[in-house]
Symmetry: C2
DNA sequence: CCTACCGATCGGTAGG
DNA sequence: CCTACCGATCGGTAGG
């Protein structure tokens, strides 16, 4: 019971931190802001977390984990390349709609991670990129997709998907999904 | 002569600030960092600029001005909608290749602008967005483009273009231009 | 979880 | 353009 309450309070603080880091930026947000937000004195925050960097680490690595798991499920199926891209679009939207603040921080503030966590983060990201590009290249080899540089197209798609976080407030998930799928699918299509 | 030297030194400081803000983020970059970078004592920086916020303002508004001017030239021609989109892609790439640090700061750090400048910035941005969307809607009405939500497509294209800043180091302008034009053009195409 | 507090760093000024 | 310095704020700790 005590432990369950403590985990819960920690999670409340992490979620509040995600909101705060999203609104003000990691460096501009202070532990004092956070304390006010959760109704504690600044020093009491440290009963639940080790450091400000720890908060950022929990937020960013939590999202990274979700992407890693989602990608593992998608790349291990026998869907067509085009279907896999569609599933990846859905994955990004699902994570965004689940916790908008966290994914925004994951997206915009990861560079402030402390070195050791940053290394881990970059490994997961590199892995994700590798698997994403593999799907693009397979589609190209099968004659389904048409483009010159896999790297450019990958980055453009990732940016497109990461914009969708801004669309979460304005559109239903289905609207975003349909428009993004159609846009990207056309973009990859052979003329 | 004196005046010319002073303007020049101010510009050196602004350019160094753009580099610094790009590398560390506006909030994490200090005037002391900047002073070291240009070989001055921290307080001497203030002989050339009024405040740290002023540096950010000069960088962001400088870029905003370039986009505003570029858009004015493009939208006042009688090019086709598709040609106009192509010209906008070129505009973004030109500005990015001209000063990568500035456009990155413009893109990622504008939210730290002081209120009065922020208002001005948002007006220019809103205006740019309005004219960009008008081109998209005209293309749609003429049956050249196919999509549901102008707003979503606009934002996706803008994000795609803003990724290109990351591609500046790795690709030639022509490669990026060709790949982005082809990607976006396909994305907008009627099936 | 709070009171009390610390050392470090920040943007910026005074005065020359 | 520098020396000297200031008030504010920061992340975080000691001790209860």
């Amino acid at each position: 019971m005590m432990i369950a309450e403590k985990i819960s309070k920690k999670q409340i603080i992490i979620n509040a931190a995600a909101d705060l880091f999203k609104d003000k930026g990691y460096k501009a947000a202070s532990i004092r802001d956070l304390a006010t937000k959760v109704g504690l004195e600044p020093s009491s925050i440290y009963s639940h977390i080790k450091s400000k960097e720890d908060l950022l680490s929990e937020i960013c690595m939590g999202c990274a984990q979700k992407f890693t798991e989602g990608m593992a499920q998608i790349s291990n199926t026998d869907m067509s390349s085009r279907k896999k891209i569609g599933a990846l679009i859905t994955l990004h939207l699902d994570i965004a709609f689940e916790n908008l603040a966290s994914i925004t921080v994951f997206n915009d503030e990861w560079r402030y991670l402390p070195d050791s966590v940053l290394n881990e983060f970059l490994i997961l990201r590199k892995d994700y990129e590798k698997q994403f590009k593999k799907i693009l290249m397979e589609g190209k080899e099968e004659g389904k997709f048409e483009f010159q540089h896999t790297d450019i197209v990958f980055n453009v798609i990732i940016k497109t998907l990461s914009w969708s976080y801004a669309g979460v407030k304005k559109y239903k998930k289905e609207e975003l999904q349909q428009e993004l799928t159609s846009f990207i699918s056309n973009a990859l299509h052979k003329n």
